[in-house]
Symmetry: C2
Subunit: 339 residues, 2 copies
């Protein structure tokens, strides 16, 4: 099969690799309908994370082509969406809704889903079948549910976005934008998107942002306080993962408020005393997308949300290298790869 491999930072190639096969009786094999490039794929692309001939990708939707003999809830031919972490969905951690930290959690990125086929471990616990074969125009939104939507949604839930709340969103990538969408769906009263890119501001407004703040760092924090009677936001979504973005999130949150942080931390160090006196609630990590998939699939199926709009560039998988370049140069917010 054809698959995307990052040979080294900045060096993306599409190679022939062996088709995956069922290894464990709980595995399923899927034929990808679409896949995509994640903001987190840019860390190794820029040389900030190690990479060496690494198969890429962890987001996926597709059709089941084979199942192991212990798979009970899925059939060959089902159209499925899965999380970027495989999970058994039966352990105490999963049952509490933290499937991405399942005691058997397996990162799909280690298998690579920017490919024609993928092996999905713990298929019963990882995959959710759609109500039927989706119309083609629903595929991008279903793909988004696999990570960026699920992650933005988790961030909004972790930040306790809801009625009467003012929510600030740090980060205007696909996750931040879908955090805006999630906050709106969860009933937030006011949603402040922090962005200095006109096209992303427009999509943020379309997804439900009521205010835009262009300032960053201390100036951004000051602006959030100004917009919230001096108190800070009730809820802040952090969707970047840098020291600056984390401190911006913590300082923009009022005492007793909630931060949902989902940007994978890079060289972040939190000062204990500042955190102590901030009085905020801090919760985040790799999103337990599986928890939200049934609800998100239904919202998409019913055409009540359209998260697929974050894909502003679609390329055949053969042109993956151009997709990485476009995202890295911020010419694209999120790139969908057709398989």
């Amino acid at each position: 099969m054809r698959a995307v491999v990052m040979f080294a930072p900045g060096d993306i190639r599409v190679e022939e690799r062996e088709d995956p096969a069922v290894v464990e009786p709980t595995d399923a094999i899927i034929r990808l309908a679409a896949t995509c490039i994640c903001g987190s794929d840019l860390w190794p692309y820029r040389g900030d994370d190690d990479v060496d001939h690494t198969p890429m990708g962890h987001e996926y939707v597709g059709v089941v082509t084979e199942i192991g003999h212990d798979v009970k809830t899925l059939q060959v031919g089902d159209f499925v969406v899965g999380s970027f972490f495989a999970s058994d969905n039966t352990c105490e951690i999963c049952q509490a809704g933290y499937q991405s930290r399942c005691i058997h959690a397996y990162p799909m990125g280690a298998l690579g889903t920017q490919a024609e086929y993928a092996r999905v471990p713990f298929a019963d616990g990882t995959l959710v079948a759609t109500p039927g074969m989706p119309d083609a125009d629903l595929v991008p939104s279903l793909l988004a549910a696999s990570d960026v939507l699920g992650t933005g949604w988790f961030a909004a839930v972790a930040a306790e976005a809801g009625p009467g709340k003012t929510v600030a969103v740090v980060g205007d990538g696909a996750v931040g934008l879908l955090g805006v969408l999630a906050a709106r769906q969860l009933g937030a009263e006011r949603i402040i998107a922090m962005s200095r890119h006109v096209d992303r501001q427009a999509l943020a407004r379309e997804f439900g942002a009521t205010d835009i703040v262009e300032e960053r760092g201390d100036a951004g924090v000051a602006r959030i306080k100004e917009l919230t009677g001096g108190y800070g936001a009730h809820s802040v979504i952090e969707a970047v993962g840098t020291q600056e973005s984390m401190m911006q999130a913590i300082r923009a949150t009022r005492a007793g408020g909630h931060i949902g942080y989902v940007g994978v931390s890079h060289d972040v160090s939190l000062d204990g005393l500042e955190l102590f006196f901030s009085g905020v609630h801090l919760h985040g990590g790799p999103a337990p997308v599986r928890r939200f998939l049934p609800e998100l699939i239904q919202l998409i199926w019913d055409r009540r949300i359209d998260p697929g709009k974050v894909f502003d560039l679609t390329l055949p998988i053969e042109d993956a290298a151009e997709g990485y370049r476009a995202m890295n140069e911020r010419r694209a917010t999120k790139v969908l790869l057709t398989v």
Copy 2:
């Protein structure tokens, strides 16, 4: 009046100071019935925090002797308990239950309550009157409500201790021990006190601990995992404030679990990536004791809890220096000073 002053690290003296007077119309003056020494007073005593001829103390119960003309809910003669932070109790932060981070929050430690009298700012928002004059044997417990009980209680609430939960408590000082009591009152199923001091283990058991873990650091974490099916505790109370205790708390908590941290942070730095992948909820800071005072006073008044048991040494205020020595040398858990 007589008052405790820390001249320099290790140098505690009882001096004559001017009696406090009403400064703002929202002030009250109280005659202390009892006061005490806090674990946090030991940081400057040991030279870990700056100190220079500093009046000491922030815990207090007593009788109102004078009120400013804007004080509406209290009368001269009322017996009152107050938080270690004065608060207006009307701003949005207070109304959300975070009075210690009130926009007008004022640390009582800056005024010093290890003294015969104290001025209490925002008296209406800070003080809660007891149902009547307390019996003498209730005074230690009411004094505990002012900080250590309120702080342990907040930690248990922040850690979401409750029915069906396993709660681990890091720190066997007065706050940790009262965190055990709070977890029990909140209905926790299992409470693991981490302590290697026999006398404190005994009090922890009396307050409701079901298990004792003597190991610390990685060994302590391993023991907590062993006791919880490999998952970690649902809820962890952190009541120390060091790097080791914070990491012990984070690592002992299962993914999706909750940490309530109330030890004032000293040289703590949290690695963003470890925190990210821990998947825990982190919440803490200076306890909003005022939120809990009405409930705690009633529990004490009805003799349903006896937090005053944490005081294992009572001295007249003139012997404050010996009280500090005893706590610093861990000969006493918590010292009550009679005034």
